[in-house]
Amino acid sequence: MSAIDPSIAEQLAQDLPPADFRRIIETFEDDLGRLAVQLEAAAVAGNWDGYQRAAHSLAGAAAAVGAVPLEKAARVAMDPRSPHPPAVVVPVIRDCAVAALRELAALAARSPGA
């Protein structure tokens, strides 16, 4: 399964100048780095509010660039009724994030003007 939804990410790449598209990917990368740290720290500390907030922001960032599997995993983390503990969800999120970044970078490299 692809780490990004091409209909969303490619639409972005088509709609925007390459520089803007690259800036969005860089912003997404920054968001992922910061939010992944916050998510893991909150999980370790048992800080449920912090864990949910970080997961919410991750879901939003992922949705913006079409990283659908990452968004779904983050929403599992956000859901208080979810049966999956952080120890299970956080590694999944990490893997989805890495895959999404890799595919986005490839898309950016293919976009005109790259």
Partner: protein
Amino acid sequence: MSGATGRVLLVEDTPTQAEVAKAHLRDLGHEIRAVETATEALEVARSWDPDAILLDLELPDFSGLEVLKTLRAEGSETAVIVITANASMNTAVEVMRAGATDFLPKPYPKAKLVFTLQNAMEKRALVIEKRALESELQAARALTSRQGFMGFIGASPAMQAVYRTIENVAASRANIFITGESGTGKELAAEAVHKASPRAGKPFVALNCGAIPRDLLESEIFGHVKGAFTGATETRLGAAKQADGGTLFLDEIGEMPLEMQVKLLRFVQTGSFQPVGGSRPEKVDVRFVCATNRDPLAEVEAGRFREDLYYRLYVVPIELPPLRARGQDVLLIARAFLTQFSREERKRFRSFTPEAEGAILAYPWPGNVRQLQNVVRNVVVLHEGERVEAAMLPATLLRAGPRAAPAPAAIPTAIPTALAEPAMPAAEPAPAAWQPPPEPAPAPSAEPAGIEIMPLAEMERRLILAALDQTGQDVPRAASLLEINPSTIYRKLQSWRGAKQRVTA
């Protein structure tokens, strides 16, 4: 799409989402500000008055829905497009009920965002245009229906009586005597009498007896012939001749010196007068309309106004009520001024908030319509936005408690109200912007420290001289600062000079 540009506030706490939105909007020409919290969103929405807000629902401090509800409760008409991920139909219904202009699920392509934003901004522009048209229509109706009459705005019973009197007497030749506090519209009433009369096609000549030096008054009214006195290098027609066939309005008739009153009486009785330095009388057909802010009968009793002249002029009295006795009229007038001044100053103000209207209603308006006019113009000039907030009004209005029950329409007091008000405490620095006069002096125990207590007349003298100093001896500007007629300053200066001469004589 019209391609109209405007101010867009982006409320989004996720940097990637914010970056996507900004990238989509970048080439549309809008001025964009971005914030990340609900608190910041409210602050910027209030201070910057954006045309549209792109509002995320899930924000770190509180929800975007609360932001939307708060803004709508405050009367904001900004277009709000709610943007959120994984939104349900219930959420969409809820935000639309709360006053959202539109709803946009994430993720969205650029075309959809642009289309939605443009639609929302056009919808908002139509709302504003509709409101402006309604306001203008209301003002126009006020001028043609019983919400207004011949330039007056007001639907109160007191003003209905004024309109009826003007209509009933306009066609007759009877002289009119208008009384009312400063700023109640005495000249407007005089003009209304003239316009509603068969003399409407002839001149309406207004003369302020209090603003003309005593020595020149006769010449101003009756004219003079060349060489009549030093400086009379040309024969000059007076107001009486200029008003032939029409209406002669003598404002502040109570300020006319007694010796001049004798000459006016003869003119009123015979319709003829003799220009200064002239050798033969001239006859004209003039209708007299006079006005004063004093109690004319009290002036007669005090010997300052001739009784015979009083009875010649005081044929049909028209008493103009003070603004504080006109109930909701104050809001009709304030709204009409707001529409007028917003158009003149190219501002976007359309209405007052309920709090601002409450403050306007509660204030007693000692300077009447003229003071209200100054306050509204001041607000329009100094502020931005679509609605006048209470905080934009001068502090004195906000400090004023609920006003007393409307005073019965009584003969006005002998002292002009603006001067009867206490002066600005000396301890307070002069405000940069115009401020209405303060409320009547509080009880001694409530007085702020540092106010030098002195006779009111002395305080009045100091204040007038200070205003003259501040304006470089420019009497009209000083009068404007003090919210009194320039003639009042001339009169005071004359009386002080007279007192000084008597002391030194």
